[in-house]
Subunit: 419 residues, 2 copies
């Protein structure tokens, strides 16, 4: 089986090199040799750590009848979309690691692929075979929830913040120096990368079509050391969680920093590692843990897909369902999310402030579970509290009202609690 690799960066080079280095075991598992026949790059003059033939002519590869599988690793959205459509039209199987592409075009691609294999294990949580587990391993279950730690940059930063008390700006700089974060880190720290992955898992679990702009996405930029202290004091971990949850006929899809009890297995996923916890109605909780990024780990998932295709052509339905599965499901409005909340208010030390805050919360049926007040300086304090289960809309309104009432000296902070 001959493959063409579109985009020979870190992951593409790893794919070619692993197919060379682990050829014996891969051939024995696949039942045939898998040959990285050609790579497509935009700049042929750039030195690359691969031995395969390179070209800058993508059309040539797409029209080469000796190529059986196209591996798309170029990144971007519209350009790879066109290339993949053409590859599928030419009857070539496709493997991609491109989560942004799938976040926007997965249903069109499923339609276009039809009976041609289209696989994307590497698009979610890198080397962890989570697509495999969710799409093939847990199919007997109604999925009750998915909670994922799927952005290694954020998890590295949050782990350092909570374990070592480092502040956000310092750790961001360190992550950039280590190559864990980009010069413009927004895509990672803003939660968008994780959201793309969540949308893919949401489709497999629930057959739900949604785009990034439809769902709640919050990043980790506003986590302060007071929040970290609260988390440590009450045995919470702070993670950027991707959450998919079924509540009746509605599906919640959201990405945001979350407080998780340290007793939960997923809270133990630290550093750059990824973890995904899936709760099925029959199997209970299962969890999947491993490297979410890196050339070799990502290539491991890409090659597993190529071997799948060698073994059986198209296996399971691309997005898990043969056709929309008929249950009348819909995306839950952000306003209707119900969870527990941690709130932080910076207030002046004067009589009546706490009463005012408590009153505003109480009027919106927000009841307080735990509260601590800590002096900040001679004139100011922090009020940190957690609520019982409340409705997102009520929380947002209450925070706005509290801010407008002039009882706080800074914008209130809020982190959702998932337990």
């Amino acid at each position: 089986m001959r493959i063409g690799i579109i985009g020979v960066g870190t992951v593409g080079a790893s794919v070619a090199n692993i197919l060379r280095d682990n050829k014996n075991v891969i051939t024995a598992r696949a039942g045939c040799e898998i040959i990285p026949a050609i790579g497509v790059v935009s700049n042929l003059n750039k030195k690359r750590d691969v031995e395969i033939e390179l070209t800058d002519d993508v059309e040539k590869v797409l029209n080469d009848e000796s190529i059986d599988v196209i591996v798309e690793l170029m990144g971007g959205i519209e350009k790879p979309y066109e290339i993949i459509k053409k590859a599928l039209k030419n009857g070539k199987a496709v493997v991609t690691a491109n989560k942004a592409l799938l976040a926007y075009h997965r249903y069109e691609l499923q339609e276009i692929a039809g009976d041609t294999a289209f696989e994307y294990e590497a698009a979610v949580a890198g080397g962890i075979p989570i697509i495999n587990a969710l799409r093939d391993g847990l199919t007997a279950n109604h999925i009750e929830s998915i909670r994922g730690i799927m952005n290694g940059t954020c998890n590295y930063m949050l782990t350092k913040m909570i374990n070592e008390g480092v502040d956000y700006e310092t750790i961001l700089k360190e992550a950039q120096e280590l190559g864990y974060a980009e010069a413009d880190p927004t895509f990672d720290v803003g939660g968008f990368d994780a959201a793309h992955k969540l949308l893919i898992l949401g489709s497999i679990a629930y057959g739900i079509d949604a785009k990034p702009e439809d769902i709640l996405i919050e990043g980790i930029q506003n986590i302060s050391h007071e929040d970290i202290d609260f988390a440590n004091e009450f045995n919470y971990s702070i993670k950027l969680l991707t959450i998919a949850k079924k509540v009746g006929k509605e599906i919640e899809l959201r990405v945001h920093p979350s407080l998780i009890p340290t007793t939960e297995m997923i809270s133990k996923v630290d550093g750059v590692m990824n973890g995904v916890s899936v709760v099925g109605d029959k199997v209970g909780e299962t969890m999947y843990y491993g490297a979410g990024a890196g050339g070799d780990a990502t290539a491991s998932a890409v090659i597993a897909n190529i071997i799948d295709i060698a073994r059986r052509g198209k296996g399971s339905p691309m997005l898990g369902f043969e056709k929309p599965h008929g249950e009348d499901i819909r995306l839950m409005s952000k306003d209707d999310i119900r969870t527990k909340y941690y709130l932080r208010f910076r207030v002046e030390d004067k009589a009546g402030v706490l009463a005012k805050i408590a009153t505003i919360l109480g009027e919106r049926n927000i009841s307080i579970e735990k509260m601590i007040q800590k002096p900040l300086n001679r004139t100011c304090s922090h009020i940190l509290l957690s609520t019982h289960t409340s409705v997102e809309k009520d929380i947002i309104e209450a925070l706005k009202t509290i801010e407008e009432a002039g009882v706080v000296t800074a914008k209130p902070a809020m982190i959702r609690i998932e337990d």
Copy 2:
């Protein structure tokens, strides 16, 4: 697709009932309806919590041309082996949860099955899709090691012992009362159940054929509270680990209690839960966590296999390799295992005892990493120590020599350390 269930106990009933309860989502995923058409039981008079038709005539079901898949859940070895052979001969796909059968007959069954689907996800770690992950998700990798916690009974008992200081006999009685342990607990606490599962994973990872009697199997019966104290003091967890490891051309397969640093993810798998850590040469460590037993969790895996068969017939090679993969691998002799060891000696408080022990160890190139001596009563002490990496044969000999030299007042204890 119509299935016949041979053995309608807890798991068999769950399979039938989940196919009924989750029919909509299963049909949408499988692309066809999966009908639990008939169950085979030995006693038709026993009341069972299922709605399906029952018979005590297994031949009738095996010869029924309307049955597409046989699900074997009867247990035992030789009887299900004969039934499955007949089912395969009649062209029926087979799904089993029977680990003992596979521990002995997996290679014959792979041969007999040929192009007919034969699946067994539920045989290892219950509801965790570990066969799926290892056989299909990590195929790009040379597997460096597998470390599994795959017996919930042992893990429940060890967790209680280490967290609550309960002794072995007390916790065994409790586990029996809770239904986690059998009246004769040997199969679980002796490590045999875990060994059956390990042999299956060993085949998928390395293509190695071995039987339970070929490998090192030790149970948890001799773990004492002194060992627990040592573990707690030096930040180890104690787990019954199943270990498969590649060292050059040799494969280690072993099951025994192990001390694992509490910093490792696998050490956090507590209570009745199962966890399997797999290290691939490219992907690094991945870990899989979930319920290893229970009717619904096990049935979740059985049904996932049935859906696989509905989707694609035979998918991957049953044991992961199209044919023996050609690398000249062999099972490592138990004597040659190299790891770190924890040793416990009960000694009389008199001059020269420690020197004698240290000398015997030193003569066999066993060097001591950490040591503590604790008084036991007015005349006796415990010497607890951990070694640097040593050779199993040397350890066994040293312990024998120490015992024979009359410097200990009880049989020395040993637990292997895996870090």
